[in-house]
């Protein structure tokens, strides 16, 4: 017998698990358990926990297996959709980053020319054809109408983006 085990421990354990203890086992094993502290502990604890297991199991409040099956299916589906959406989100982030880089590059490149760009905008958009000659001839050209139009477009774009993101 070692400090952490007895040579007959396995035999006693097998008898306990097969339900042969205490009635269907030899007398000399009973005598051994009486004198061996390790086997006595084994018998005491195994019987106490075995009884407790039998007593506790009927108290379980179990959910229907179908509900658990269903929940697992939903979780698997959501995980699969999330997995599929991950690269799309990555591509969107990449596209946005690239657009910002290009915009920043254009801003830097054209840093000194913004006044000319804005002055040329009415002519580039052929606004002269849309406005009365008196307005075109007055000082400042059609700039006073271009700026509010651009502001309105920016505002409407913001509203559209907001509505689309809300809908999603």
């Amino acid at each position: 017998m070692s400090p952490f085990g007895c040579v007959r421990e396995r035999e006693v354990r097998d008898l306990l698990h097969q339900g042969y203890w205490p009635k269907a086992c030899p007398e000399e094993l009973h005598a051994h358990v009486e004198t061996c502290r390790i086997c006595a502990d084994l018998v005491l604890v195994t019987r106490a926990l075995g009884e407790e297991r039998r007593r506790t199991m009927p108290q379980a409040r179990l959910e229907a297996p179908g509900a658990l099956w269903w929940r697992a299916q939903l979780r698997r589906r959501n995980a699969a959709i999330e997995k599929m959406a991950r690269p799309i989100f990555g591509a969107e982030v990449f596209a946005l980053a690239m657009a910002l880089v290009v915009a920043a590059a254009v801003v830097v490149w054209q840093a000194g020319n913004w006044g000319g760009w804005i002055r040329d905008l009415p002519r580039a958009l052929h606004l002269d054809a849309l406005l009365p000659a008196s307005m075109v001839d007055s000082g400042g050209g059609a700039l006073w109408i271009v700026v509010p139009v651009l502001a309105t477009i920016a505002l409407l774009s913001g509203v559209v983006v907001y509505l689309v993101s809300e809908k999603q």
Binding site: D41, T46, A48, L49, G50, A60, A67, A72, R76, A80
Partner: protein
């Protein structure tokens, strides 16, 4: 009657294909129901007695099965599947212990177990709850797996994630301590 027939359109189209393709279904609805009927009560008893909280055992039992169904189940028979289920439950229990504890109205004191049972208890059963309460959670876990579920040292190592070599010593100490507490309780 299966749940798919009750709610037929819930998993249709691309999402259903994705769900099926994401994990190979190794257990169908009927097989799962049979497996659940055989394994749910022992699993609940394990969780309830180790955690000493019946409500927590309810929650963790459900979560264990959902995770079990979402994972790739071992294909070497029901014994391995059951061991895997206990492993999931053990990990959930460990995660719960690691989380900061918040008081819950659902928490049920140990006495409720006795009240629920109704039947007359033996002296040993009366002594068991205080003895279990004095043990560390890990010791309760090891003792239950070894002596209530009948798992071998190797199986306990697999379920708990502890080293197989240390199980023998840990179990010996836990058993000795529990036997002492039980004897002390009976004598008192």
């Amino acid at each position: 009657m299966s749940w798919e027939s009750i709610i037929p359109n819930a998993l249709t189209g691309e999402a259903a294909g994705l769900a099926a393709g994401a994990q190979p279904a190794t257990m169908d609805n009927e097989q799962f129901a049979a497996f659940y009927a055989r394994s749910a009560r022992p699993l609940w008893a394990y969780l309830a007695r180790v955690s000493r909280d019946a409500s927590l055992a309810d929650d963790l039992t459900q979560e264990s099965y959902v995770r079990f169904l979402c994972a790739t189940v071992p294909e070497d028979g029901e014994v391995a599947a059951r061991r895997y289920l206990f492993k999931i439950a053990t990990n959930l229990l460990r995660d719960h212990w690691r989380k900061p504890q918040a008081a819950s109205l659902e928490e049920m004191p140990e006495e409720v177990f006795a009240a629920r049972c109704g039947a007359a208890q033996t002296e040993m059963q009366v002594m068991l709850s205080p003895a279990m309460a004095q043990l560390r959670p890990r010791d309760r876990q090891l003792l239950w797996l070894a002596y209530a579920e009948g798992y071998s040292h190797r199986e306990i190592a697999e379920v708990t994630g502890l080293g197989a070599a240390s199980i023998r010593l840990l179990l010996f100490r836990a058993r000795h301590k529990m036997a002492q507490l039980l004897r002390k309780g009976v004598e008192a």
